[in-house]
Symmetry: C2
C-alpha cells in the first residue's frame, strides 16, 4: 500500500467537535465504531461493510482524520482501533452516548466482522 501519505492522526487538542460529529453521522462509520467499541484492535481485512474496499478505505480515513480511530501498520497489514480514552478526555460522554444510541437503534448493523482470525 501507499503508506498513508496524507492520513493524519490528530493529537487530542487538534480534534474538533464538528469533525468528530461529522465522522459519526454516517451509518457505515457508526457501524465501524460499534465494531471497534470493545476496544480490541482489528485487522482491516476483518472488517466487513457493504461497500467497495476503496469506499471502506475512505470511511476509515474520515474516522482517522477526525481522531476517532488509530491505524497502525504492520508489514502490509493495517490494524485499527478506537481511540476511546483520547475521545473521552477530549469530548466527555460523547462516544458513549453515540455508541449507546447506535446500539439501541441498530445503526450500522450492516457493518461487522468476517470470520477471519484477527492475526493479533
Amino acid at each position: 500500500m501507499v503508506v498513508m501519505k496524507q492520513a493524519r492522526h490528530p493529537e487530542p487538542d487538534e480534534m474538533t467537535l464538528i469533525e468528530v460529529m461529522a465522522a459519526l453521522s454516517d451509518p457505515i462509520r457508526v457501524g465501524l465504531a460499534r465494531v471497534l467499541a470493545d476496544g480490541r484492535e482489528r485487522g482491516w481485512g476483518e472488517l466487513r461493510a457493504p461497500v467497495a474496499k476503496s469506499t471502506l478505505s475512505h470511511h476509515l480515513r474520515v474516522l482517522r482524520d477526525a481522531g476517532v480511530t488509530r491505524t497502525r501498520q504492520e508489514g502490509t497489514r493495517c490494524f485499527v482501533k478506537l481511540r476511546r480514552s483520547d475521545l473521552d478526555a477530549r469530548f466527555p460522554g460523547l462516544l458513549n452516548a453515540v455508541l449507546t444510541a447506535a446500539h439501541s437503534d441498530d445503526v450500522g448493523d450492516r457493518v461487522g466482522l468476517t470470520d477471519k482470525p484477527s492475526a493479533g
Copy 2:
C-alpha cells in the same frame, strides 16, 4: 411567511441518530443549540448568526427536521426552543455531551442573540 409547508416535527421514535448527528455537525447549528441551551424559547428575530436569513432559515429547518428544536408560530412570528427532554429520552447523554464540548471549544460562538427583547 409561508407557514412551513414541509417542515416537520418528528416524534421521538421517528428521530434518528444519524440525522441528529448530521444536524449537529455544523458550527452554525451547534451555535444555535448553544443559544437555546438554557431552555428558553427564543424569537427567530432574536437569533443572530453570520449568514443570510434564508440560510438561517435553512439551518433552523435542519434542526427542526432532526427533532433537535421545536418551532411555534404566533401570528407572523416564530419561536424556537430546544427539545431537550425529547432528545434526552431518545439519545441519553448525547445533547449534554455536545453542548459541553461546544462550550469548552467555543464552537458556534459567532451565533448569539440580538439585544431585542424576546417578546415573550
